[in-house]
């Protein structure tokens, strides 16, 4: 009897398809590795010949340029190019994270609206999707940026909103909470949220009074919000605020939301939501009409039908393309450079690459960052998908 690793009798190993297959794969891998090696070698030679510095020594050199939005401490005189990298990275992450959440909400709403039986709602949603996804994102960003800048009043005529909030074409300025004893407040808040979640979990299985979703939600919210307020006022902890102050040219202090950030966020959310809406529509339509009819026949309400029957099945179809849309949004955030938002590409692949004159290293790092963003988003979504996927028996 032939054993799997042995060729048929009388056949030399080099004529055995199995060994040939293996040899071919090794050959292709070796050729690819060799090509990559040659490419790197040539690049290194050319860089050396044209006396371009190489290596990552620039990482610890003082940057010397200013960045308009910094989520971590950064100053031109003392911070390094490495620090500038982290500033840009965080700026990209924050716009991508907020954008993904908002685009998902808007996209689901539009997607459901496209299937609405109300003619007007359905038409409006269709118009939205067709017009938004057929205009290049860059143009939309420029549109939003100019719309934001032109719609808002100049600095001297700022809108003053309740609670010390200022709004003008330099940005939205919010009072920034100053925590006297930050750790304490955070502990109370976190505790309350945890309690609310546990409460919700326990009550979910109850019937009768506690079984009504409205009652449960109200109590959960009360625990999450009212509890910390009561505890903090009883213990006498106060939250002080750093209010934005009007100075000669600008607004000082407070929490600043740049118009560039808002424009980029609007552009990304509106654009990506159009694609998500189509994904959602496809998902919902993939659940056969018979299922809805059966659910209604069993006496489930329309909402229950949607929540318990349609959405869980639709999610299987929705998640993989939704993942692509999240990845697209993250990568599209690099268009920020056109409207002056200091994201990773603008700060690092733009200014740092140019000031250090080491574009090869800088671009490689930037590509690796986007690659790891995308791979980790994919990973999370794949885990989610695995949980939602149809279990076949």
């Amino acid at each position: 009897m032939a054993r799997p690793w042995e060729s048929a009798p009388g056949v030399p190993f080099y004529r055995d398809p199995k060994y040939r297959g293996i040899a071919l794969q090794i050959g292709v891998c070796a050729a690819l590795a060799y090509l990559a090696y040659i490419a790197i070698q040539i690049a290194a030679d050319n860089l050396a010949r044209s006396h371009v510095a190489s290596g990552f020594g620039f990482w610890n050199v003082t940057a010397g340029f200013d960045i308009s939005q910094t989520l971590i401490d950064y100053s031109p005189q003392s911070s390094t190019y490495g620090r500038a990298f982290w500033v840009g990275l965080l700026n990209t992450l924050v716009v991508a994270a907020v954008g993904i959440v908002l685009a998902t909400i808007l996209g689901f709403a539009i997607g459901v609206a496209r299937l609405s039986r109300n003619y007007l709602v359905e038409r409006l949603a269709t118009c939205y999707v067709e017009s938004i996804r057929n205009v290049p994102l860059l143009l939309q960003l420029l549109f939003w940026y100019n719309a934001v800048l032109n719609a808002l009043p100049g600095f001297a005529a700022s809108f003053v909103l309740p609670g010390g909030v200022l709004l003008n074409n330099r940005g939205l300025f919010l009072p920034r909470p100053l925590f006297g004893d930050g750790a304490q407040i955070f502990a109370v808040l976190a505790g309350a949220v945890l309690l609310a979640v546990i409460f919700n979990r326990i009550m979910r299985r109850r019937k009768g009074f506690w079984g009504a979703i409205g009652i449960r939600a109200a109590f959960t919210l009360a625990i999450a919000v009212a509890l910390p307020v009561i505890v903090l006022s009883v213990t006498g902890t106060r939250i002080a605020f750093d209010y934005p102050q009007v100075s000669r040219f600008n607004v000082r202090g407070g929490l600043e939301v740049l118009p560039e950030f808002v424009a980029l966020l609007l552009g990304l959310v509106v654009y990506t939501a159009a694609f998500i809406a189509e994904v959602v529509r496809a998902g919902l339509m993939s659940v056969s009409r018979g299922q809805t009819e059966a659910a209604l026949a069993l006496g489930l309400t329309r909402l229950q039908t949607l929540r318990l029957i349609v959405i869980p099945q639709a999610m299987r179809v929705i998640i993989p393309p939704l993942t692509s849309q999240y990845l697209n949004l993250t990568k599209n955030s690099s268009l920020a450079v056109a409207i002056g938002y200091p994201d990773l590409v603008q700060v690092f692949a733009g200014t740092v690459a140019n000031q250090t004159n080491q574009p090869v290293e800088v671009i490689v790092i930037t590509m690796l960052v986007y690659l790891s963003f995308s791979l980790s988003t994919s990973l999370v979504m794949n885990i989610y998908n695995a949980r939602y996927a149809l279990v076949e028996r």
Binding site: G10, V11, F249
Partner: protein
């Protein structure tokens, strides 16, 4: 496979036999054919690798490459009035543009043999280093790090400095009054660094808003996103003309940095470096000796030894550079001397009306000074 060798045809039927590999003679033959193919593939791979290697390297003799190509690839600005800007017909004008034309005139005796390639502040050096362009004439500041990192500044065709433009309504008359101001700036420039330095040195607070291109930064300033817009003073005059209401804006008197702007070449080709450097010096010497586009024919008959050396009626100075004896005659005839080029593009003959200032010849109170041709 059939037809590769006559022997193979004979066994063709067996090629389709499911008991593939049973017939030793056929198999041996196939192996031979395959080996032959492998050798071909290996040769092809080697050839590709060599071609790839050749394509990847930058040729050392730039002058020969340019002559062979028949056209000079010039990295220009594309958006800056007075320095590099194509008009609606696609005709390029500007001080830097004319510099490239002068180089082309010296090489080809034809100032039109230039291909202008618009570059951005961010991609200009990469374009030069990869050989996409032969010379970078794009209002680029000469700094130590640029010289050290694979580039060579060939001289200074415009002495500039960084300034600010603000709205008149702001009632600011000095850059020192800009504490706390939001300032729009183009990224990837020395401007960005000077700005941070200046505010740091004067203990002022700054809010920078950075854009990829000069036009985007200017547009943001115009929509009131920033209080001031900063770039090299020469660029400020040009940018001011692009604003809808130029009279509502004023250039502040402070010049906060030294910006010697000049053409760049890549390191490693001394002959090319010399040619580009001396084209600028030739244009300066021509102005100093009063050789201009109008009188250059007469000046060819001049008995002044300096003019004779300049125009090549005596000596072989152009040939020493790898050009022809009459290289300066070509430059002046086809493009003009430095003064003419300056006036036409940024000076009194242009909408910018920038005074010569530091860019006057050393004999006229400026610092433009060229070594002698001898």
């Amino acid at each position: 496979m059939a037809g590769t060798s006559p022997a193979a045809t004979k066994w063709d039927a067996k090629e389709f036999s499911p008991r593939y590999g049973q017939d030793f003679r056929a198999g041996a033959n196939r192996v031979k054919i395959r080996r032959f193919k492998m050798r071909q593939i290996a040769q092809a791979l080697c050839a590709a690798a060599v071609a790839f290697a050749a394509a990847g390297s930058v040729d050392a003799a730039t002058l020969d490459t340019v002559k062979q190509r028949g056209v000079l690839n010039c990295g220009a600005n594309g958006t800056l009035p007075g320095f590099g800007l194509p008009d609606s017909q696609g005709n390029w004008t500007g001080l830097d543009v004319d510099f490239c034309r002068a180089v082309a005139a010296a090489i080809f005796n034809d100032a039109a043999k230039v291909k202008f390639i618009p570059t951005t502040a961010s991609n200009r050096f990469a374009a030069l280093q990869t050989g996409d362009i032969d010379v970078l004439a794009r209002n680029t500041t000469w700094t130590l790090s640029r010289d050290a990192q694979g580039l060579n500044a060939t001289g200074v065709n415009y002495y500039d400095g960084q300034g600010f433009i603000v709205r008149k309504a702001l009632k600011v008359n000095s850059a020192l009054g800009l504490n706390d101001a939001a300032i729009c700036v183009q990224q990837g420039t020395t401007t960005e660094l000077n700005l941070a330095d200046y505010f740091r040195a004067n203990r002022m607070r700054l809010k920078t808003v950075t854009f990829a291109t000069l036009d985007e930064a200017l547009k943001a300033y115009e929509t009131n996103r920033c209080d001031a817009f900063t770039t090299d003073a020469s660029g400020l005059y040009g940018s001011r003309l692009k604003l809808a209401k130029a009279d509502d804006h004023v250039v502040l008197p402070e010049i906060i940095s030294k910006e010697p702007l000049g053409p760049f070449v890549r390191q490693g080709d001394d002959q090319w470096f010399d040619i580009v450097k001396w084209v600028h010096f030739a244009m300066l010497n021509a102005e100093e000796l009063n050789v201009n586009q109008k009188n250059v024919e007469e000046q060819m008959k001049s008995q002044n030894p300096e003019i004779k050396r300049l125009l090549g009626t005596e000596g072989n100075f152009g040939e020493q550079l790898g050009l022809t004896k009459d290289w300066v005659y070509r430059i002046v005839k086809l493009v003009g001397n430095y003064g003419e080029v300056f006036d036409r593009n940024v000076g009194q003959g242009s909408p910018l009306k920038i005074a010569r200032g530091l860019n006057a010849l050393w004999t006229k109170g400026g610092i433009q000074y060229a070594p002698p041709i001898r």
